[in-house]
């Protein structure tokens, strides 16, 4: 036998094929149907918002990694692309370009890189960017282009309120919920995406398709999205049963606003969600409850971004106090 040099390393000697970049590209792929639909509904604006957000996110990550952190940039891992896309999905399709770039900078620069980059950020970067914009530029961030109205124009667009905003304003002005509900589209239209809203959040059906794809590819498990949506459904359902004249029905809550986008694509962010199943249950229920609280009792018509960021803050505590059930733990007497 020849004296060929053999590789020696500790076990295991085989590895599964899923890598960080494959996971990121799967997430991007899962968002593509909803993205295509947004272009169909909102036209050029949706395309421009996404292009600007993705390019600026990647550029900021590259520059900060190379010049501030002085590390080798790894932009091909796809994580900055995902952050850029998620930011774009969370803003109106007519947002001015400089606001998008600013949002990207806050998302990547402050939300992600200031903590040391991928894997270290406590808050979902895209949501940090989004909430920063929402609080600083409330007018631009809540001016929603109406579907199909001005698809070829980037500026003079016909706008309308989101269903959640419309109901909230109406109730505040003392109008009856029954009358208000007659002026918004039906649930089926919501599911298909015929509603004003942030660029990528409108089509529940295509977002659910993305969810199924991510579960099939073993990128995420069903737990977080199902528990978030389930909690929202139960909580808003209880309110609705208690007083149907004051509260909208639970399906309305799930199919409007950013509920599905948030539950499927943002609450599931690896870095900012808990490590154990018990932690995941509490985290997800917290998101569902806070979302409904903000929507029903808070100042903003939509609350899932706040809910996710608030629960992100609890993740380190959840990880510390909710350990996995250890094998051989239950048996005490031995």
């Amino acid at each position: 036998m020849d004296s060929k040099l053999l590789t020696v390393s500790p076990s295991p000697h085989i590895h599964q094929e899923q890598t960080i970049s494959r996971i990121m590209y799967d997430v991007i792929f899962a968002m593509l149907p909803a993205f295509a639909f947004s272009i169909y509904v909102f036209g050029l604006g949706a395309l421009m918002v996404t292009l600007i957000a993705v390019l600026s996110a990647v550029l900021f990550e590259y520059l900060i990694t190379k010049h501030l952190l002085k590390r080798e940039p790894d932009i091909l891992d796809g994580s900055a692309v995902v952050t850029g896309m998620l930011l774009a999905f969370n803003v109106p399709s007519n947002l001015p370009w400089w606001l998008i770039v600013l949002g990207s900078f806050v998302a990547i620069g402050i939300g992600k890189m200031s903590f040391g980059g991928l894997g270290n950020n406590p808050f979902n970067p895209a949501l940090v960017g989004r909430v920063f914009l929402l609080i600083s530029f409330p007018v631009q961030m809540t001016t929603w282009p109406a579907p199909f109205e001005s698809r070829m124009s980037l500026t003079d667009v016909v706008t309308g309120a989101t269903p959640l905003g419309f109901i909230k304003d109406g109730l505040k002005n003392g109008e009856s919920l029954v009358d208000l509900m007659q002026d918004v589209p039906g649930h089926l239209d919501f599911l298909l995406g015929m509603q004003p809203g942030s660029m990528g959040e409108i089509s529940g059906l295509l977002l659910i398709f993305g969810f199924l794809f991510l579960v099939f590819r073993k990128v995420i498990t069903w737990h977080i999205p199902v528990i978030v949506i389930g909690t929202m459904f139960v909580f808003s359902g209880l309110l609705w049963l208690g007083n149907p004249d004051r509260f909208v029905d639970p399906l309305f809550h799930i199919l409007t606003g950013g509920a599905l986008l948030g539950a499927i694509f943002m609450a599931t962010d690896y870095v900012t969600s808990p490590m154990t199943i018990r932690g995941v249950v509490i985290y997800s229920m917290g998101i569902g409850i806070i979302t409904i609280l903000v929507r029903v009792f808070g100042a903003y018509p939509e609350g899932i971004s706040f809910a996710i960021l608030i629960m992100n803050a609890f993740v380190p505590l959840l990880n510390k106090y909710f350990k996995p059930s250890r094998f051989g733990e239950k048996v005490k007497n031995g």
């Binding site: 899923q18 790894d74 270290n120 996995p324 051989g328 733990e329």
Partner: protein, 450 residues
């Protein structure tokens, strides 16, 4: 409502790597005697055996060449006939330097008197419980699934404890390996007798053979035989790694959880591997000590992957030659399976009692991908069959936080490698956990002796 015929399995974690049982249908082939055999005097966990032969001495096949060196130890026998050419320290298959006896093998084989070398099946168990235990001790039988724990100790149930069921491990959950599978097919009835012997030694009325469901022919064959050998039950297990881990297997088969730091006997059971069971049959019924074993030689580029019965002390290179030689694209040669096996740096090392397979990986599968940052995906946590947090253990070991590692049960780790297998960032989870286990064990020992 659909009723699923749900296969038994362990409840927590686990993975399903590609099974790659290339050599599954290959009958066991006997290898000719090699020119030399090299026998380390420690092929088991515990105290090394003490050599009782000298250089130049002539030994017959089956003769004791090293005697047990303590309670946790095992006899070593000459696996071939010939002159002792050398007794010196050499590196063994597990990478440690050990006293090794080399025999220059005679063509003419002479067996020690009283060893039955025929294939005749002897079903009647004439020996008493104590005689059986003595035969197993004398025969140098150790756990052949890879852990190589001396079998007679497992069978010597401590005072105050009692086993009520014997578990036979036929899971063979490591990818690629097929030696246990083939043994179950070809030596089915011998195995059943072996189980009966172990039952008698343990004084139990029930035995369960657990086999992963990717070995349906073995399950069928042994199930049919179990009609004749009542009290022995054959159970099909879900194909899920590490199904053959002792604690996982016990949980899957009899739903008892071995508490942290305890042994199977603490929940009333003892587990033996099918290879060990066959060796017990041979030691008790045929008076034949453990001098040979079935070894799978396999790999995607291997010309004739197969299952071979080889004398202990045979060089790895001889086995590889029997399987068609070392492939051109070889990058790594592993003793054992891909999940828990050890990579070899020298192919002249000889096989020992714990060598279940030789796996040859091509160059492109031999090196690890670059490790990246932890993205906290929690896959290692949900995959760990012991309910540990590998990502966290790695971090605390890196930072030297040994107390935290101990409190988070680092010593419960069974080193199955599922965490490192699943990690999308290719992090060196198990490497650091092993390091931490060694450090924490030492600290505990110091604490106890202080």
């Amino acid at each position: 409502m659909f009723i699923f015929n749900k296969l038994k399995t362990f409840p927590k974690g686990g993975i399903h790597p590609p099974e790659a049982k290339i050599s599954a249908d290959k009958p066991i082939e006997r290898l000719p005697l090699p020119a030399n055999v090299k026998i380390p005097i420690s092929q088991h966990i515990g105290v090394p055996a003490v050599p009782v032969v000298e250089r130049g001495e002539f030994v017959k096949t089956g003769q004791i060449i090293a005697k047990t060196g303590g309670f946790v130890s095992a006899n070593i026998h000459a696996p071939a006939t010939g002159k002792i050419a050398k007794i010196s320290e050499e590196m063994d298959i597990s990478g440690y330097r050990r006293m090794t006896v080399m025999i220059r093998v005679d063509k003419e084989e002479q067996w020690v008197d009283g060893i039955d070398t025929t294939d005749e099946l002897i079903t009647e168990i004439s020996l008493s419980k104590d005689q059986i235990l003595e035969k197993i001790l004398q025969g140098g039988i150790v756990g052949m699934g890879g852990a190589t724990f001396p079998s007679h100790i497992k069978l010597n149930v401590p005072r105050g404890k009692k086993a009520d069921v014997l578990i036979i491990n036929g899971a063979e959950c490591e990818p690629y390996l097929t030696s246990d599978h083939q043994l179950m097919l070809e030596k089915s009835e011998e195995l059943m007798v072996g189980v009966k012997i172990l039952m008698k030694a343990l004084d139990v009325k029930k035995a369960i053979i657990g086999i992963e469901n990717n070995k349906k022919d073995a399950i069928d064959k042994l199930s049919k035989l179990s009609e004749k050998y009542n009290e022995i039950e054959v159970v099909a297990l879900k194909v899920q790694y590490p199904q053959g881990g002792e604690k996982q297997l016990i949980k899957a088969l009899i739903n008892r959880e071995v508490p942290s730091g305890k042994l199977p006997i603490d929940v009333g059971t003892v587990v033996h591997n099918v290879g060990t069971t066959y060796a017990v049959y041979e030691a008790v019924q045929k008076n034949k000590p453990l001098i040979e074993r079935v070894i799978t030689v396999t790999g995607k580029s291997v010309k004739n992957p197969g299952n071979f019965i080889a004398r202990l002390g045979t060089p790895v290179s001889t086995l590889i030659d029997a399987a068609g030689g070392l492939p051109e694209d070889t990058g790594k040669v592993i003793s054992g399976g891909p999940m828990m096996g050890k990579a070899l740096n020298d192919l002249e090392i000889s096989v020992t009692k714990g060598t279940s397979g030789i796996l040859i990986l091509p160059e492109k599968e031999s090196t690890r991908s670059k490790s990246k940052v932890c993205i906290r995906c929690s896959k290692c946590v949900s995959t760990c069959p012991m309910g540990l947090e590998p990502f966290y253990l790695m971090t605390v070991v890196q930072r030297g936080m040994n107390d935290e590692a101990e409190q988070n049960r680092i010593l419960d780790c069974i080193e199955c490698g599922s965490c490192a297998y699943i990690c999308p960032s290719n992090r060196e989870l198990l490497d650091y956990i092993r390091l931490g286990k060694a450090t924490v064990s030492n600290l505990i020992r110091e604490r106890q002796s202080a």
